[in-house]
Amino acid sequence: MNSKHRFSLLWVVFIVGLAVLPFVTPGTYVIGVMCFVAFYATLACGMAVLLEQAGIFSLAAPTFFGLGAYVAGILAAREILPPWAGIIFAALVVAAIAYIIGAPLLRLRGYYLACATFGLLFIVEIALAQSGEITGGHDGLMGIPPLSVVGFTLRGDFHYYFVSWVLCLGCLWFFFNMMNSRVGRAIKALHDSEVAASSVAINVPRFKLKVFVLTAVMASFAGSLYCFYLQFTTPSMFGFPLLVELLTMIVIGGATTLYGPVLGSVVLIWLREAIHVYLKGILPKLTAEVDAVFFGVLIVAILIFMPEGLAGGLDRLAHFGRRLLGKSA
């Protein structure tokens, strides 16, 4: 009961901080970066639930993110559907794809599933790049209009900041509720012991497929919003580099809690910004490779000193602090 209370207090502080942030920071730079944090955090969270809670080693999050972006983007750019309807349509398409792909693939375990979804990542990226007439090919999809809902058009970082964080926190809230219900217990159970899970009438393949499709749909929502935010997408945005970033976020933040991946994406994206801002003078030819070196060092340091990620480290620190206070009092 006590830990639950602390948990909600932490979230209240976080959400109030997010709400105040646009009004206390000058310009749109900070909230612009925070939009990316929200999109990435949504993806990383879904992926962490799959990896850590369900034990499903799927690397397909960038793929579903990209499909959500492209389907909604193409429909809006070609004026086939209004953006808001495109988002819903994209989610349905991605759900169907995740279902069709997941049904056979989720029979694979561990590394084999990782290999299969890793292949999917490249197949979709290449397909998007090669279907020039429909997707715009390597150059990317242009002419995506901004998101408009019932006559109100979202423009600029300020609007998308709120929309993206509502999506991210909404997904977190959904996961929190779900993981503390019969569905979440079924998902954790099938990870701990499949044979015991089926002995209490849990349909293991069905629940694996359900949580796989759920995270795919969330990734699709994030992707659709992402494409309306940038009004531009290229296939390479949804490829291997994004996967590596998501995994880095999960490792840095820690996958055992829901706020771990959020913390991971905040740290990773702001670290990247800091590298670019402060090291530009020293290393003018700054490329993604330099980022990779920094993140590599960070991952190694985290794995050595905080194997449960920042979230786990903070938990231990808080525990230590309380004991210290308790003793002095």
Binding site: S181, V183, R185, A189, D192, V195, A197, S198, V200, A201
Partner: protein, 259 residues
């Protein structure tokens, strides 16, 4: 089996199952009567655990029939068998180690509840009511095995004897008609075994049917009304504890062991 009397709950007929050429079960037949304790004993490797796994759908039998309450369950997937009211525990516990004691017991309610993923994720009132009911039912089952005070402990912090009881509580929260206990007394201390015997008697009084797979001979002899003896996948004897104790083949199979 039209002539099958009503008192028979589980009827296993000529069940065989091989693994890579080794016959783990060879034409095994026996029946379990309602509200009675039936035991399956046998030396190591006799096929006892395979038998449970074949009944619960973990393994599909190569041949033979398994009827539960009149319907054929041979070859059905494990979660369907479980939903018909067949609960089990595991020799190696197989508890959900990432959960607390009560959460383990709560998973037992899965088959009799139905809130979907969206209802749970959006915390709809119906899902929350169901969650509360699940918690109460799981708590009742923990109370039945005497673990209500450990409800919020993580599984890893419990000693072996209590972990075995959590497995039983999880099975009980399925509200089963038939319970299979796979070596429930294995590794337990004397006073823990006594506690288990009392619990099993109470469950029978409440109308449960129990199949016991066990190594602990005095435990089996004192509890069971019927004993089935397996050796190398073959049923070598069946009868009351007295009959089994004096059976030549059983004594031979257990050579050197006092029954």
């Amino acid at each position: 089996m039209a002539s099958q009397p009503d008192s028979v709950l589980l009827d296993v007929q000529n069940v065989s199952r091989s693994f890579a050429g080794i016959r783990a079960l060879n034409l095994v037949s026996f029946s379990v009567k309602r509200k009675k304790i039936t035991a399956v004993i046998g030396p190591n490797g006799a096929g006892k655990s395979t038998l449970i796994n074949v009944i619960t759908g973990v393994y599909i039998p190569d041949s033979g029939g398994i009827h539960f309450g009149g319907s054929d369950i041979a070859g059905l997937p494990a979660h369907i068998v479980a939903s018909k009211g067949i609960a089990r525990t595991f020799q190696l516990e197989e508890l959900f180690s990432s959960m607390t004691v009560i959460e383990n017991a709560m998973t037992g309610c899965h088959g009799k509840t139905g809130s979907g993923m969206l209802a749970c994720g959006f915390a709809l009132p119906s899902a929350r009511r169901e969650e509360k009911r699940i918690r109460e039912e799981a708590m009742e089952c923990l109370a039945m095995v005497g673990l209500e005070e450990k409800a919020l402990e993580p599984i890893s912090r419990l000693p072996l004897g209590e972990r075995k009881l959590v497995g039983i509580a999880r099975a009980l929260s399925m509200k089963p008609g038939f319970l299979m206990l796979d070596e429930p007394a294995g590794g337990l201390a004397g006073h823990e075994v006594e506690r288990l015997v009392k619990l099993i008697h109470r469950l029978i009084e409440q109308g449960l049917t129990i199949l016991l797979v066990e190594h602990n001979m005095p435990f089996v002899m004192s509890l069971s009304e019927k004993i089935v003896v397996l050796d190398a996948g073959v049923k070598i004897a069946e009868g009351t504890p007295e009959e089994v104790k004096n059976d030549e083949r059983v004594i031979k199979a257990y050579l050197g062991q006092e029954l």
